[in-house]
Amino acid sequence: MTRVVYGVAGVVLFVLLWKAAGVFAWVRPGTLPDPFLLPDAFLQEWQSDRLLPAVGSSLIHYFWGLGLGTLFGILVGMAAATVHRFDMLQAYLARILRPIPPLAWVVFAIAWFKVSHAGAAFVIAIGVFWVNYFATYSAVRNIDPRFYELARSFGQGGYWRRARSITLPAIAPGTLAGVRTGIGQAWMTLIAAELLGVPGMGQEMNAAAGVGAYEAVVVYMLAISLVYALCDLVYGLIERRVLAWRP
């Protein structure tokens, strides 16, 4: 309970400071949105039918990009960590491609997919891919080899049996933590990709900023925060269920 009181107090304090910064002109006038005007700005965005379509559009990019990036990241990470030849084959390639920031791919996303949902999903998927690839790869590498001994001793030593009975459950905590990181990372990339032109919350933000409607910008920022918090909450519940065996 004390936590809640302090938490709310922190938010209130922040908003008051923010308001004060405007009232006492601590920053250049006209560049700081008024926090007390945010509800109005929210209503306006809602009623002019811009907020919900923007959220919907962003969610399409988000789920496709996140889904494909996660799927391929886990598959490739697992293959690299368990098939020695494939590991050697991909090692240098991964080292070359990994440092390229996902946003650098926006150029090709636009060239290949034009300004479309697919382009945004593509950029998101790249970032998410690497997060999951590394999480899964290192989770597989960290499996206690004694579990593999156990598998062999009890007739589950073949590649697929071993993968199903040992590797997959053993990497679940590491891989699922990677997926969770990906959920956050996808949001960051998403907004940045949309700032570059794909329709969605990022683009609406950019448009609002262009006409100096900073309150609207903040409305979109808060919407981003809210949608992310919801995604993370739902995922956290799923993760807890899947990993119920952990102390």
Binding site: R146, F147, E149, L150, R152, S153, F154, G155, Q156, R161, S165, I166, P169, A170, A172, A244, W245, R246, P247
Partner: protein
């Protein structure tokens, strides 16, 4: 009586080691018998057990099963020193692990799990997670998992060395009961001579560098064994002398 497992002039060299750890080791384990393997640290007891378990290939000589494989059973099952339960499986599902690849139907599998759990006193624990068990309970689950596959031979690698002394005594007595109720032979690796004499029909002493069998002593004491029996102390003293410990 027929043997279940035979080692014939077995040799093994650890990868990268200068010389073999085991050389020309020959040993036959009779079907249904309880054989304890003792020896100093690093003498090659665990190596022998790992060869028996099929986890490493012999460098020379051979290890073979002499009985035909029977359907619905495994030739061998291992009980590890560290219990080695899969933390993401419940106790029941851990016990079922070795059954999953056996050619028996689902009802039989469930029956075997229930039977193994009740034999080991774990009937109430089927739905627990491994982290909710004590060390002794975890080791019991390891034994139940091995017994569930009805192995011709049960391979045990110092299974009670990580539990406290009292639990250890209890588990020893329980193991004898379980073994007598099963039709399995047991190969039990330990560094504890008292434990070996308490449990085994036959105590095999490994010694030398490289190691081979330096003593193969039949223990003909009646069961349940009485540690205060002078013959028990004699056997312990004899084996201690053989191992060079007093």
């Amino acid at each position: 009586m027929a043997s279940v497992m035979e080692f014939d002039r077995l040799s093994y060299t650890h990868p990268g080691a200068a010389g073999p750890v085991i050389q020309d080791l020959s040993l036959a384990i009779e079907a249904g018998s309880f054989v304890a393997v003792v020896g100093g640290s690093g003498v090659g007891k665990s190596t022998l057990l790992r060869v028996a378990a099929g986890l490493i290939e012999p460098g020379g000589g051979s290890m073979r099963f002499t009985l035909p494989q029977r359907p619905g059973r495994r030739r061998r099952a291992v009980v590890f020193q560290d219990g080695r339960l899969l933390p993401w499986r419940t106790v029941s599902d851990n016990v079922a692990y070795g059954l999953e690849t056996l050619d028996i139907d689902a009802a039989q599998k469930r029956e075997r799990v229930t039977e193994a759990l009740s034999l080991t006193g774990l009937a109430e624990f089927g739905d627990r997670w491994p982290h909710q068990l004590s060390g002794g309970q975890a080791q019991r689950v390891g034994i139940a998992r091995a017994l569930a596959v009805k192995p011709d031979i049960l391979l045990m690698d110092e299974p009670f060395s990580a539990v406290d002394a009292l639990t250890r005594r209890k588990l020893q007595a329980e193991l004898i009961r379980l073994w007598q109720a099963s039709q399995s032979a047991v190969m039990f690796v330990t560094h504890d001579i008292d434990e070996a004499v308490f449990l085994a029909d036959r105590v095999v002493v490994l010694g030398g560098q490289p190691a081979s069998v330096v003593e193969n002593l039949a223990i003909d004491l009646p069961r349940p064994r009485d540690r205060t029996n002078p013959a028990f102390a004699d056997a312990v003293a004899h084996l201690s002398a053989r191992l060079g410990v007093e």
